[in-house]
């Protein structure tokens, strides 16, 4: 049954040094607040997993929380590079970062295989690319019926899966809608899951494209309004596009990055405190 807790308790109880952890979100519903709390609690040696590592992964990597990244596209969408990620890969700053690199289709197949309890998934993919040369976890199998060669990728089993969603009810069922990405698969692929919700409601009102996760597959629910900022939660907030541009020069300069992380993450204790520490213009335009 779902446990309700505070964010700091949820991270303390579920995320341990050395764990394989995904904080998923496909532009929408990215659990930034959970990443900040992992940084505050000083986790180390994590294997981070994400289809689209963005600013929160730049922060986790730059603060030395990760030793490996499994991913398919690492960038600051619409704004440029992740400079803390690039410094780790290009110059081993703050330390070496092993990478395991896939395509989106491959990562999605890996999540779906894990959610299905299978050891691997198949897709028509990767053929003829150099990803096959550099990623040992891409292999090929023959279809037993037609003989067609297909790519095989192992299930992406997680220690911890963390997502945002719009709502939970008091029984701990979770509902999300809009772009749902691989949110469901992340929870179903994880031994332990944490879901940050905008709001806890008495009853769900069905939504187009709504996804419901029943309470018996949800580990811990945290009520954390704007926990996805600067990402967004459809019908609760809008994406803070300005923040993604604002991040570019901070990420570029390691000293400036460390000072920013100190002021806004390490010196604050909660997501509300983090949001209050930011210039108001970055936050105000995102209220839906």
């Amino acid at each position: 049954m779902t446990k309700f807790s505070t964010l700091s308790e949820a991270i303390e109880a579920n995320v341990h040094d050395g764990d394989r952890v995904a904080l998923e979100g496909f532009t929408h519903l990215i659990p930034f607040a959970a990443g900040h709390e992992i940084i505050r609690q000083g986790r180390r040696n994590l294997t981070l997993v994400r289809m689209t590592p963005d600013i929160i992964y730049d922060q986790l990597i730059g603060m030395g929380c990760a030793s490996k990244l499994i991913f398919s596209w690492a960038g600051n969408p619409g704004a440029g590079s992740l400079h803390r990620f690039r410094d780790a890969v290009e110059r081993e700053i703050p330390g070496p970062l092993a990478i395991e690199e896939h395509s989106h289709a491959g990562m999605a197949t890996r999540y779906a295989a894990s959610a299905s309890g299978l050891p691997f998934g198949i897709l028509r993919g990767y053929a003829g690319t150099d990803l096959v040369e550099v990623t040992d976890n891409v292999r090929f199998v023959s279809c037993p019926f037609t003989g067609e060669s297909l790519a095989a990728v192992p299930a992406l089993d997680l220690d911890v899966g963390i997502i945002c969603a719009q709502q939970a009810d008091r029984q701990g069922n979770v509902m999300l809608w809009g772009i749902t990405g691989v949110q469901k698969e992340t929870v179903l692929s994880a031994k332990r899951s944490i879901v940050l919700v905008e709001e806890i409601v008495e009853h769900f009102v069905p939504h187009v494209n709504g996804v419901v996760l029943p309470n018996w597959v949800v580990g811990t629910v945290v009520e954390c309004p704007s926990g996805s900022f600067p990402s967004y939660a459809q019908d609760y907030s809008e994406r803070a596009n300005d923040f993604y541009a604002y991040w570019e020069p901070i990420s570029r300069d390691r000293d400036r990055f460390l000072a920013w992380m100190g002021e806004h993450v390490l010196m604050t204790e909660t997501n509300a405190g983090f949001l209050a520490s930011l210039d108001s213009h970055l936050v105000e335009s995102t209220r839906a």
Binding site: F26, T27, H28, M51, T52, F71, S72, W73, A74, G75, P77, G78, S81, F85, R86, V89, E90, E101, H102, S103, H104, A105, A108, T109, Y111, A112, L123, R124, G125, Y126, A127, G128, T129, D130, L131, V134, E148, S149, G178, I179, T180, G181, V182, K184, E185, V208, N209, V211, Y232, Q234, E238, R239, N241, Y244
Partner: protein, 255 residues
């Protein structure tokens, strides 16, 4: 297509590139759209000559009809305006892999004469000079869409003799690699740049210069290409952007 050409209107080379890319899409085409120029071009096509083009974004949005150019592939304007929103495993499996997409629009950091694309690293993979974002959806878009259109700014750093990493397979080395691997799609058919348009020639097994944009000389294009680019017999000048194309484009970009 262009019916109201007005020669005294000026435009930028980036605008010409977006217009040329948009013209590649005919009405009703089902198009898998990446962020950046591909998204701009696809939305321009929808606003001008191809109102029924179907835009599919890898975030799971099918039939998105944004009223502005979204800054990311997961922008709220895409899901709210879409005919359907599905999960990411489904968009890649049921829709792309199953062969339901006509055109894939891809960007590139490096591309070669066979349309192979690098978006992974400049330099050596293990110790790269520049680490790029990586593959995203591109390898399977390049494999499974019926045809692929590549857009990038024209420079000898981008259009190179040999790419540093094959992120997405084009035509390999021109010797029929796609057929041997059994890839469903026909691969890259056009490379649209700010200087002109290159088209894949099945008999010469490489991309040829087939259009130069107005005001651009063939020598300019050859000098900005990192391999000895061959010129098609049918070389001609790209029709200039029309006023309706430019006004639609500028309404998106705010220019």
């Amino acid at each position: 297509m262009p019916s109201d050409v007005v020669q005294d209107v000026t435009w930028t080379s980036d605008e010409m590139m977006a217009v040329a890319a948009a013209r590649e899409l005919s009405d009703g085409t089902v198009c898998f759209v990446g962020i950046g120029l591909p998204s701009t071009a696809a939305n321009l096509a929808r606003a001008t000559h191809a109102p029924h083009v179907v835009l599919i974004y890898e975030s799971g949005c099918i039939g998105a009809k944004p009223d502005r150019i979204p800054p990311s592939i997961g922008d709220g304007v895409l899901s709210v305006s879409a005919d359907a929103v599905v999960g990411v495993p489904e968009i890649f499996a049921y829709w792309l892999q199953a062969g339901r997409i006509d055109v894939g629009f891809l960007g590139a950091a490096q591309v070669d004469r066979w349309g192979n694309i690098n978006t992974t690293v400049v330099g050596n993979y293990q110790s790269p000079a520049v680490r790029l974002p990586g593959a995203g959806g591109a390898p399977e878009i390049a494999a499974s869409c019926d045809r692929v259109i590549i857009t990038l700014r024209h420079s000898a750093r981008g259009l190179v003799e040999k790419i540093d990493f094959i992120t997405s397979l084009g035509h390999g080395d021109g010797s029929g690699v796609r057929e041997r691997l059994g890839l469903p799609g026909r691969g890259p058919q056009a490379i649209i740049t700010d200087l002109g348009v290159l088209r894949y020639d099945d008999s010469q097994h490489q991309f040829l210069l087939s259009e130069v944009h107005p005001g651009v000389g063939v020598d300019d294009v050859l000098a900005a290409t990192g391999w000895p680019l061959l010129v098609a017999d049918s070389l001609h000048e790209t029709p200039a952007p029309t006023t309706s194309e430019l006004s639609a484009l500028r309404s998106f970009t705010g220019a």
